[in-house]
């Protein structure tokens, strides 16, 4: 076992897939000799050469479009968005071209688009976004969002091996904060579409993903210590397709649900989860399904403002207390 960070685990997963399958290649801005803005691909050019680690112009639409063309031809491109905020520049290419290709035209497009997401880092409105809701509505795409080092590795490997296009959302606040003992020499592949029970509990379920998994776990610990409330925490890991079965299983056990995400509230993933619980487990509920999310504003820069906008551990504790008492 070796202790590795979330970032190192992602890097290992990419590296292992590049070693395993010569169809895999990386393209993106500054990914080559520079090694990427966060050094995810550091050392890759030296090992795999410029043909498999391609520095591109600042052109997200061209990066994704070219990845799609290469994927049609049998390659397995991994496209990096330097910050995930810039994926919106490739929105058309992803939603109109890539996502529809198999359905409308029978074209296999096995590509991965990955990039650093999320706030809590004082990045301001354009280096802190969580783009999942914009793509969650698009049939044909898959979306994974690892919260642990193990899943950072396991999901990048699964995404690369998947025959469908996958958005791999990685949280930059977790890059070097989260560490985990990972076995050496054992292959880690996290199945796409399966949530993970991160903490067992009986009093209420906290359904979450990404950075707020850690805030939810902190909150659950505090609730246990201070209130004797046993909160269950479900880490979704994959957002599209959602693991309905795991969500419903937890609802039937605790009968109360708090959904937590870092993304803004309106039109967020929590709304869809709420609707599915309503459809599939309405009679099991002993309280309203509640949400803790970011406020509906662009993410501001100043620490005082950002901390107010984003969900904090204390918010989750308060919301869970309210729900437990309902």
């Amino acid at each position: 076992m070796t202790e590795v960070t979330y970032l190192e685990a992602l890097r290992q997963g990419l590296w292992e897939e590049m070693e395993r399958d010569d169809r895999v290649f990386i393209l993106g801005e500054d990914v080559g000799l520079y090694g990427g803005a966060f050094k995810v691909t550091e050392g890759f050019t030296k090992r795999f050469g410029e043909q498999r680690v391609i520095d591109t112009p600042i052109s997200e639409a061209a990066i994704v479009g070219a990845a799609a063309g290469a994927a049609h031809m049998g390659l397995r491109p991994v496209a990096e968005m330097q910050f995930i905020d810039f994926i919106s520049c490739a929105y058309d290419m992803l939603t109109n071209y890539v996502a529809t290709a198999r359905y409308r035209a029978g074209l296999a497009t096995p590509l991965v688009v990955r990039g650093p997401c999320g706030g809590y880092v004082r990045g301001g409105p354009f280096h802190s976004q969580n783009p999942e809701a914009a793509f969650f509505h698009t049939p044909g795409l898959k979306i994974v969002y690892p919260a642990t080092a193990r899943d950072a590795k396991g999901l990048i490997k699964a995404a690369i091996r998947d025959d469908d296009p996958v958005l791999y959302l990685e949280h930059k606040w977790l890059y070097r904060r989260v560490k985990e003992q990972l076995p050496e020499g054992e292959e880690i592949v996290t199945p796409i579409g399966e949530a993970r029970l991160a903490r067992e509990g009986k009093d209420l379920s906290i359904v979450t993903y990404g950075a707020t998994l850690w805030k939810s776990l902190e909150a659950a610990e505090q609730l246990e210590q201070e209130d004797g409330v046993a909160a269950e925490v479900l880490d979704l890991r994959t957002l599209l397709p959602l693991d309905d079965a795991a969500i419903v299983r937890s609802v039937k056990k605790t009968n109360k649900v708090l959904i937590v995400h870092e993304d803004t509230r309106t039109g967020g993933v929590a709304g869809e989860i709420t609707a599915r619980i309503n459809e599939q487990a309405f009679e099991w509920l002993d309280g309203p399904i509640m949400r803790v999310t970011a406020h509906d504003v662009p993410l501001p820069y100043a620490p005082t403002l950002e901390d107010f906008v984003l969900p904090q551990t204390e918010d989750i504790v308060k919301a869970a207390r309210w729900l437990a008492a309902y």
Binding site: P57, A62, G65, A66, M93, R102, A105
Partner: protein, 351 residues
């Protein structure tokens, strides 16, 4: 009975390195394109075409001639056509039956009723269907030709873009990306005067589309798009340069869209005398026929024989599919993903 001239004795040398059979094959594709579209117009008027109908009348020459310059056959060159490049798809081996089924949304169409008109593909035969977002096929074809380059395959890609399409961001991003990567890609930019109802002077401030390509370090030229042999020769040379490692090539073809954007468009914004001039003085098929006959590369009889064979082919294709069924509703659910295999059938449909 008068004797007919013998082609080999008085005729001019054959042009552009083409054989007499190839010259006639090009003619066949021109005629096939036009006759097929005329048939589609008839079917449209009978309400048998489900959606819109987009004609390439007056532009068939550049579509056919540019595609004809590619290497065809299983896993050879690949092109990506737009709505007015039916001719290029036929050259690559798309069948009239497939086109008819697509327009009529038949269950047996290449996309099983999921997509419209010429929006379908067969990468083995060498055509990749467009999506409606103009410009998007440039980055995709950049990726396809990047793959040729990475694998060391001697293959070339060709992509069409209209004058209006050159205003899109993906056109510029794709062109720049492909230029930097020196992808073996040939871009055919069709200056056909109309982007729906918008004329060039409201679309861009350059005179020629070729000027745009030069800004990306791409060699670019302009040819008469209604001169079939000129387009063929220019494309042939560009394809050879691309195949030889010369990077992206850009050819602007000056042509003219003689019909409305689609059949519903009455073209009231176009002066009638302009349409008449292009129809009478600058039709690509008429010009090509004139060349073939004037230079005695072929005889009228050969051309009328082809016309008749094409007519029979289109008749047979129409008869074969016009009464075919539309797809069964529930065939719509599978195939969004490789896995899961089908979308969920929603609960209210079981009530």
């Amino acid at each position: 009975m008068t004797s007919r001239p013998v082609p080999t004795t008085h005729s001019r040398p054959l042009p552009a390195g083409l054989t007499r059979e190839q010259l006639l094959e090009i003619y066949r594709y021109l005629r096939l394109t036009r006759t097929l579209e005329e048939r589609l117009t008839a079917l449209y008027r009978q309400s048998k075409v489900i959606g819109g109908l987009f004609r390439s009348l007056g532009q068939e020459g550049e579509s056919v001639a540019s595609a004809y310059a590619l290497e065809r056959g299983p896993h050879r060159d690949i092109l990506s056509p737009l709505i007015r490049n039916l001719g290029s798809m036929l050259v690559m081996g798309a069948q009239p039956l497939e086109i008819l089924r697509q327009y009529m949304a038949k269950a047996g169409s290449p996309t099983r009723g999921r997509e419209l008109n010429v929006h379908f593909n067969d990468l083995e035969r060498g055509f990749l269907g467009q999506i409606s977002h103009l410009g998007d096929m440039i980055p995709v074809m950049a990726g396809i030709t990047l793959t040729f380059k990475l694998r060391g395959e001697w293959r070339v890609g060709l992509v069409y873009i209209g004058d209006g399409g050159t205003s899109t961001g993906t056109f510029h991003e794709g062109l720049n990306f492909a230029a930097v990567q020196r992808c073996p890609l040939v871009v055919i930019a069709e200056y056909n005067r109309w982007a729906y109802s918008t004329p060039p002077e409201k679309q861009f401030a350059v005179k020629d589309l070729a000027e745009k390509a030069k800004g990306y370090g791409i060699s670019a030229g302009t040819v008469d798009g209604n001169d079939v042999l000129a387009v063929y020769e220019a494309t042939k040379a560009a394809v050879a340069r691309a195949r030889g490692g010369g990077g992206v090539q850009f050819i602007e073809v000056k042509t003219y869209r003689r019909k409305g954007h689609a059949e519903h468009d009455d073209q009231h914004y176009v002066p009638q005398e302009e349409l008449d001039w292009w129809a009478k003085q600058n039709d690509p098929v008429d010009r090509y026929v004139k060349q073939l006959l004037q230079h005695e590369w072929t005889e009228e009889r050969d051309l009328t024989e082809i016309d008749e064979r094409v007519r029979v082919e289109i008749d047979q294709a129409t008869d074969a599919c016009v009464n075919e069924p539309l797809p069964q509703p529930e065939t719509t659910l599978p195939g969004v993903y490789a896995s899961p295999p089908a979308a969920e059938r929603l609960w209210f449909r079981s009530l």
